[in-house]
């Protein structure tokens, strides 16, 4: 753990609902723009060779070897319940850091890094009691587009992801 990483950690801890403004890396799934806080992003990768892991849920595509470090890759499309698409030249993997673990997120295309002010962020729309919108931080507006700002902790922490991280840890041990 370096100094740099610690500051990131504190920045994340302080990142509450009132603290949604900042830079977001926007990407695209089915013509919908999503944004993740740039401080969560470790690296952007072009498509790498994915090692599929048996017994994993279908949204977990497998693992990649990033400079000697084995990290799990999640197909966000599947996680969101969207239909799977072919990988193209535009397909990228965004490596993010969550609670000290790194996770790869496969997206259709990466767009840009965008500054979203608090004024341009509204709360996620509430449709009914049953619909879960916890994974959305808010709806960002930039230019004419709407960006769904994702709460990665809600998506990728707990449940399945814990188990995945454990498996990945076991896999990484001998290396």
């Amino acid at each position: 753990m370096s100094q740099e990483e610690k500051t990131v950690e504190t920045a994340l801890v302080g990142n509450k609902d009132s603290d949604r403004a900042g830079k977001y890396l926007t990407f695209q799934l089915d013509n919908t723009q999503f944004g993740i806080q740039i401080l969560r992003v470790v690296e952007l990768l072009t498509m790498m060779e994915i090692t599929t892991v048996p017994m994993w849920p279908s949204f977990a595509k497998g693992t990649i070897n990033l400079r000697g470090r084995v990290i799990p890759v999640v197909d966000l499309r599947q996680k969101f319940g969207l239909s799977a698409t072919e990988t193209t030249e535009q397909t990228c993997t965004i490596v993010v850091e969550l609670e000290g673990d790194q996770v790869g997120i496969e997206v259709e295309a990466v767009n840009e890094v965008q500054e979203v002010s608090e004024d341009n962020i509204s709360d996620p729309p509430r449709i009914g009691g049953t619909v879960d919108s916890d994974f959305i931080l808010g709806m960002g507006k930039a230019d004419d587009n709407t960006i769904i700002l994702l709460n990665l902790e809600k998506i990728l922490v707990g449940g399945d992801m814990e188990a995945l991280q454990e498996v990945v840890g076991e896999l990484a041990q001998p290396v």
């Binding site: 500051t7 830079k23 740039i38 401080l39 690296e43 072009t46 030249e89 535009q90 890094v113």
Partner: protein, 659 residues
């Protein structure tokens, strides 16, 4: 049938008739002969057999009759007649024997004759025996009469003496006892006389009635007589009277004895009679058998003969009917088969001659027309020749023109081929353009990839800058700029790629169009080649045409001369046709004669009109021209009518068969 010659048909017809008559005659005569043989056997054997057997039977019957008469009446004349009948019977048997020796079919006669002859022989013996028996009977009857006479005489004498003594006793006045005695004597002697008379009456009655029983009854009187005599003898004292009584007794016993003898002889005679009857009946039965056999045979033979004769007559009638029918049919068939073909020939000849006559008229007409036509033809032929020369000149010109066209088309062809080569060059150039634009597209793609990578790098840089916080702010700006550049270069690459894709598409279209043009040019070349060959053909045809026109020209000249010759020939054929019509008229006369021969005089009238009418129109020429025909025929006697016809159609057998 139709293939047979006339001679064979006639021969066959008569042959069939002759065969039928021969068969009929043969059958009839055979059956007649059979009937005749039967009748001969009848007349020579069975009828004589019947006659002889009836003679024998008659003689036997008569003999038996005579003998029966003799045996009852005992008169000698019957016996004599019976002897005569025996002679006649023997003669008849001899006749029958001779017949049986000569006859062939009389099997029964020989055996029966023997039976009859044996019968006759035994009968003859019986006749003699009968004769003897009758004679014996006559002798016994004499004895009978004499004994009866003695008996009656002595009895009457005793009665006389008693009546005399009675009168004397009355006169002497004897005692009543004496008188009573005398009266008893008279009574007894009267009874004795009565018994004698009764016996005599019974004997006569028995003979008269032919009943021996009566005579046997008479015999019973004699023991009574003896008892009466013994009674009277007791009271008789005179020796004379006693002698009389002895005599009475003696006569009575003699009488009784004779009666016994008579009865014995009589019975013998009766037995003979029976035997005779049996033998005679046997003879007659033999005769009857013969007669019956002969009758049966006669009936059989006569019925056979009659049935044979009936069959013969039936056969003859049927045969005659068949012969009649066959003869009529054959006659009809032969008449048809002879007259039919001849009539056909006549009809054919008549029609032929009529046709020849009309045809020769037509020929003469048409040959006149031909002559006229050929002169017209000659003039038009000259015109034809002139126009043909013009045609020749035209043909030459067209040949030259076509040659020129040919050379021109060759030039066009070479030009088109050049165009084709140029098109090939163009095509390769287009292909090259397409290839180089493909290369360019690849380069552009690489640039695009680079731009993408750059973009990603810029984003990474931006991420790093963000993590660096305020320290990274300047770096973030640079990263943003780099990213903008990358995006621009990506857009430029995309625009270039679009352009190159368009130019690529255009060059493909160009290649396609070049291919089309090349194909069209190829078609043009092939079309030109075709045109060139066609023009060559036209040129050669035109040359050929000009040569042909020249040939036609010479041919027309020849035709002209031929037409002249035709005109002359037509005139000649006109005269020949007239000659032909004359010959046809001659032929019709001959046909008429033939019709007279076949159909008789009746056919003449109808055929004469039919024969003369078609030739009538040209009568003059026929009359004039008939002589040459006669000469060619070679007889020179055509005017002779019937005579000529006989020569024309010789009606001897050979020629008929040939027909």
């Amino acid at each position: 049938m139709n293939n047979l010659t006339l001679g064979k048909k006639i021969a066959m017809g008569f042959g069939i008739l002759i065969l039928i008559s021969v068969a009929l005659g043969g059958m009839g005569s055979w059956q007649m002969k059979t009937a005749q043989m039967g009748s001969e056997i009848l007349s020579e054997e069975y009828v004589p057999e019947m006659a002889v057997s009836s003679q024998i039977r008659g003689a036997a019957n008569r003999l038996m009759y005579q003998m029966r008469g003799y045996s009852y009446s005992e008169q000698e004349q019957y016996y004599e007649m019976a002897k005569n009948e025996i002679d006649a019977l023997e003669a008849s048997i001899e006749d029958a024997r001779a017949l049986s020796e000569s006859a062939v079919h009389l099997d029964k006669l020989n055996g029966q004759i023997k039976v009859i002859a044996d019968g006759e022989h035994s009968y003859k013996l019986l006749v003699e025996q009968t004769h003897d028996a009758v004679l014996g009977l006559a002798d016994i009857r004499v004895d009978l009469d004499s004994n009866a006479a003695t008996y009656m005489k002595e009895a009457n004498a005793f009665l006389e003496s008693q009546s005399v003594a009675f009168d004397k006793d009355l006169a002497e006045g004897k005692t009543p006892d004496q008188m009573k005695e005398r009266f008893a004597k008279v009574c007894i002697i009267n009874e004795i006389i009565g018994l004698g008379n009764d016996a005599r009456i019974k004997a006569f009655r028995s003979q008269a009635l032919q009943d021996p029983a009566i005579m046997e009854e008479a015999q019973k009187n004699f023991p009574i007589v003896n008892a009466k005599v013994a009674e009277i003898r007791r009271i008789t004292h005179s020796p004379a009277n006693l002698a009389q009584l002895d005599a009475i007794q003696k006569g009575g016993s003699g009488y009784s004895q004779s009666m016994g003898q008579f009865l014995t002889s009589w019975n013998e005679l009766q037995g003979l009679n029976k035997q005779r009857t049996i033998v005679g009946s046997e003879m007659i039965a033999g005769c009857k058998e013969l007669q019956e056999a002969a009758e049966v045979e006669t009936v059989r033979i006569s019925s056979e003969s009659s049935s044979n004769l009936a069959t013969a007559s039936l056969t003859t009638i049927v045969g005659l009917i068949i012969a009649l029918v066959v003869g009529v049919l054959l006659a009809i068939f032969m008449i048809r088969s002879i007259t039919g073909p001849i009539n056909k020939v006549i009809a054919g000849m008549q029609a032929g001659s009529e046709q020849v006559a009309s045809a020769s008229g037509q020929v003469s007409e048409s040959s006149i027309q031909l002559a006229e036509g050929s002169s017209e033809q000659a003039s038009s032929l000259e015109e034809t020749a002139a126009s043909l020369e013009m045609m020749a000149a035209g043909a030459k010109e067209s040949a030259q023109n076509s040659k020129q066209a040919n050379s021109r088309s060759q030039e066009v062809k070479s030009n088109a081929e050049k165009g084709q080569a140029a098109m090939t060059g163009l095509n390769t150039a287009m292909e090259k353009i397409k290839a180089s634009s493909d290369e360019t597209a690849k380069i552009i793609k690489t640039i695009d990839e680079i731009a993408f990578q750059t973009n990603l790098l810029a984003l990474n840089a931006a991420v790093e800058a963000a993590r660096a916080g305020d320290a990274g702010k300047g770096f973030a700006v640079v990263a943003e700029e780099v990213r903008n550049l990358a995006q621009r270069s990506a857009e430029a690459a995309k625009g270039t790629a679009d352009l190159i894709a368009e130019s690529n598409q255009n060059s493909a279209l160009g290649v396609e169009a070049t291919g089309d043009v090349a194909a069209i040019l190829e078609e043009v070349v092939s079309g030109i080649v075709e045109v060139s060959t066609l023009i060559g053909e036209v040129s050669s045809t035109a040359e050929e045409q000009s040569r042909s026109v020249t040939e036609v020209n010479t041919a027309v000249g020849q035709m002209d001369s031929v037409t002249q010759a035709n005109a002359a020939g037509a005139e000649e054929s006109a005269s020949a046709a007239e000659e032909m019509s004359a010959q046809a008229a001659e032929m019709q006369t001959l046909v008429m004669n033939l019709m007279q021969i076949v159909g008789g005089a009746n056919a003449e009238g109808s055929s004469a009109t039919a024969g003369s009418s078609p030739v009538g129109g040209q009568g003059g020429s026929v009359a004039k021209k008939s002589k040459p025909f006669a000469n060619t025929y070679g007889s020179g006697k055509t005017a002779g009518g019937q005579k000529a016809a006989d020569e024309v159609i010789p009606l001897d057998e050979d020629s008929l068969i040939e027909m």
